[in-house]
Symmetry: C2
Subunit: 248 residues, 2 copies
């Protein structure tokens, strides 16, 4: 169903009558903390439970957009990734082939691709949308979490459980971030990396004087989507009734 | 093999000859950040990958001790939990039955026990060792991460993936901690909760004027254990040679 051009506040009031007070308050409360100022990209994640834990973390920290790059066409993250938290998030998925690539030649599974068309497309999109691209990596000269400036929208790039970020992502990032590691382990679990990063950055963002909140228009558009979610298939009949009444 | 009473520095020098420079430096570097000032308890964790990710996180943040309470005797976390990171950590495990309980009557699997002998024993131990017991919970009047005082050693209590902490743990904690949650999700993945908590607390601890580092004696004892790990079964013959030389 297309986004309605016109009287969104009235439509929201109308639909809101069919949603419990508790649910409406929850949606309003969540919206106040929602942000697109910070986002992240997951590159070629293997384990569905990692992707799923990561989306739950994004939702919990108010991060509305998650970017997913799948260069390895043969590995389908698809069905599992979208479980649960997806309902309340925007997943932006970039797959090999989406940009008109021929993926038939890919023998995937355990051979990483020589190029990274999905990552390239995702990074280009993020850059076009004004994000500073920050690759998490073990580089010794990388930023620490305290070094990350909050003056520009931030997109954090996380690699997969085995190889980390692709050479492409590492080479095309604007900056590198090294998570604190004081032990023998060489890396964190991917969902742990995302949690540490978002926890620190969102905590700082809430205290920073930058425009991290969604605009009123974005908030209204999200409210409509979430109301539709809550109403399920009923929302279509209700919206028809609303617009019929408008034109009477 | 018992801890040697006597000349530990000399024994360490001796064993160190058989360990690469790189490994010795790594061990020394890790020791500088190791702490027993902060620890945590995992209560009845179901999923081995969560326990495993959690131990990796503990190691990475320099937390040497992890307490594990298993009230549900029928669910064996045992073999999986100890993988990997355990080598470098102290796991303190409390099981139903360890304290002389009769566990034959337990029908476990999906019936939570009415009492929590393993948790009770673990909490008593932590308290005896001087820790403030901080239960993570969704209580609305709980501390936030910024509220946690660093003036006393801290033991954070984490519940399992389904029910959270037991009523026993919640009732017997000294304080409650609520992790930041700004979205629809009601809880974090357990390994994510541990990561968020340790990341914040360890970051604060490193800047605090409290005695969080291991004592020289603790550092020497840990060095010996880690050297033995690195040397594998060779260490026994080497130590015999060392002590033989001492008495000659």
């Amino acid at each position: 169903m297309p986004e309605p051009q016109a009287p969104l506040p009235e439509l929201l009031d109308f639909l809101g009558q069919f949603i419990t007070e508790h649910k409406r308050q929850k949606i309003a409360a969540v919206l106040r903390w929602r942000t697109r100022y910070v986002t992240f990209l997951l590159e070629d994640i293997y384990q569905p439970q990692n992707a799923s834990a990561t989306l739950r973390t994004a939702d919990a920290f108010g991060v509305q957009d998650v970017y997913i790059a799948e260069n390895w066409n043969a590995y389908k993250v698809n069905p599992d990734v979208t479980l649960g938290a997806h309902k309340w998030l925007d997943l932006h998925r970039f797959r090999r082939g989406d940009a008109g690539e021929d993926d038939a030649a890919l023998d995937a599974q355990h051979n990483p691709p020589a190029d990274y068309p999905a990552t390239a497309e995702a990074l280009a999109t993020l850059r076009r949308r004004g994000y500073l691209l920050v690759a998490t990596s073990p580089h010794s000269d990388a930023w620490s979490l305290d070094d990350v400036p909050l003056t520009q929208p931030l997109a954090f790039l996380f690699g997969n459980e085995r190889e980390g970020l692709s050479p492409y992502a590492l080479a095309h990032a604007d900056a590198h971030l090294r998570l604190p590691m004081f032990g023998f382990a060489e890396s964190f679990n991917i969902s742990v990396s995302v949690a540490i990063t978002l926890s620190h950055i969102i905590h700082a963002l809430h205290q920073a004087d930058v425009p991290w909140r969604l605009s009123p228009e974005e908030q209204a558009a999200l409210t409509l989507r979430w109301y539709r979610r809550v109403l399920g298939t009923h929302h279509q009949a209700l919206e028809r009734a609303f617009f019929r009444r408008l034109t009477e």
